[in-house]
Symmetry: C2
């Protein structure tokens, strides 16, 4: 089976220019001008930091939610999606100690994580990479792509998520905004 | 964060003697006399095969189930637990395409996976290692330890699990029975 692990590296080269980095909570990362995304290999020689994560099966979505998502969402790499965000997130030990039913209840029934994301489909495309099980410094690498005219909507999406009960379990978060390097 | 990835290797050395290997379905593994278990590093030079997996958070257990499990289960490495089993398992693409609620329903409400395991606590200690997200050839490496007098109970536990609806999604399974090498 092909591995689905990817490496996100901040350094002097990459397809994405880092236009702004905001540390929401916890430690930051070294400042870097570019981001490269590669299938999991050794970190590039110019990397100032490097984060790994894998694509996996869904962990909380129900049949109803999955069906609705698949109808509306669009994939990565759309030509108009010249802006992106990499937002690495770590959750507390208290979160990971919760059983599945209580994590699900906080994630969706209380915090409406999937429901909020659906309000911004198909404009904001997203992909979740899991990091925690690799012994990495973050639990998740969240990735978003959108056209420049949807930047304000993306900020609104993040503000709504960060106001949820789920986010009280987030203890490290860095919001790294990106623009396609060499783009018009 | 410390990685929790382990490597199970079949070869000419190891703490566990391989006493019997049964291929339940799918491809087998090369015959090897010993099994070694190490923190994730390079495969030992004598390895005929090598499988990696990580310990992770629970994926299906509810608060009620988790509480009951923690009250009754015992850890690995008990001195009387001189027998063990490594049972690598792969599930079908159809399983992984299911949403969380339907996987949970098959796992517990229909197949009673946790409930069946509880019937054999504390005699049969177990630990689950996740492999699929590492791009490995199996999805899970399941590990069990027990005293020799509980071998028949362990066989019964496996027979009950293999008769469940959940097991119709298993398309590769190898049952590797082990005894502590050099044990009395």
């Amino acid at each position: 089976m092909a591995t689905t692990t990817f490496r996100f590296s901040g350094g002097s080269r990459g397809d994405w220019q880092i236009v702004r980095t905001t540390v929401l909570c916890g430690d930051g990362l070294a400042a870097a001008p570019y981001l490269s995304v590669d299938a999991d290999a050794a970190a590039p020689g110019d990397a100032l930091w490097s984060l790994r994560g894998f694509v996996s099966n869904t962990r909380y979505a129900t049949r109803v939610e999955t069906t609705e998502l698949r109808l509306v969402q669009q994939g990565l790499g759309r030509p108009q999606a010249r802006q992106a965000a990499l937002i690495p997130i770590r959750k507390t030990a208290a979160w990971w100690d919760l059983p599945q039913d209580e994590r699900r209840a906080i994630f969706e029934e209380t915090s409406h994580h999937t429901r909020i994301g659906m309000d911004y489909l198909p404009a904001i495309a997203r992909r979740l990479y899991h990091s925690r099980d690799l012994g990495e410094q973050f639990d998740f690498l969240t990735w978003f792509e959108y056209a420049p005219e949807h930047g304000a909507a993306f900020d609104e999406l993040l503000a709504r998520l960060r106001a949820t009960q789920e986010w009280t379990y987030v203890d490290r978060e860095i919001d790294i905004r990106l623009a396609l390097a060499g783009g018009a």
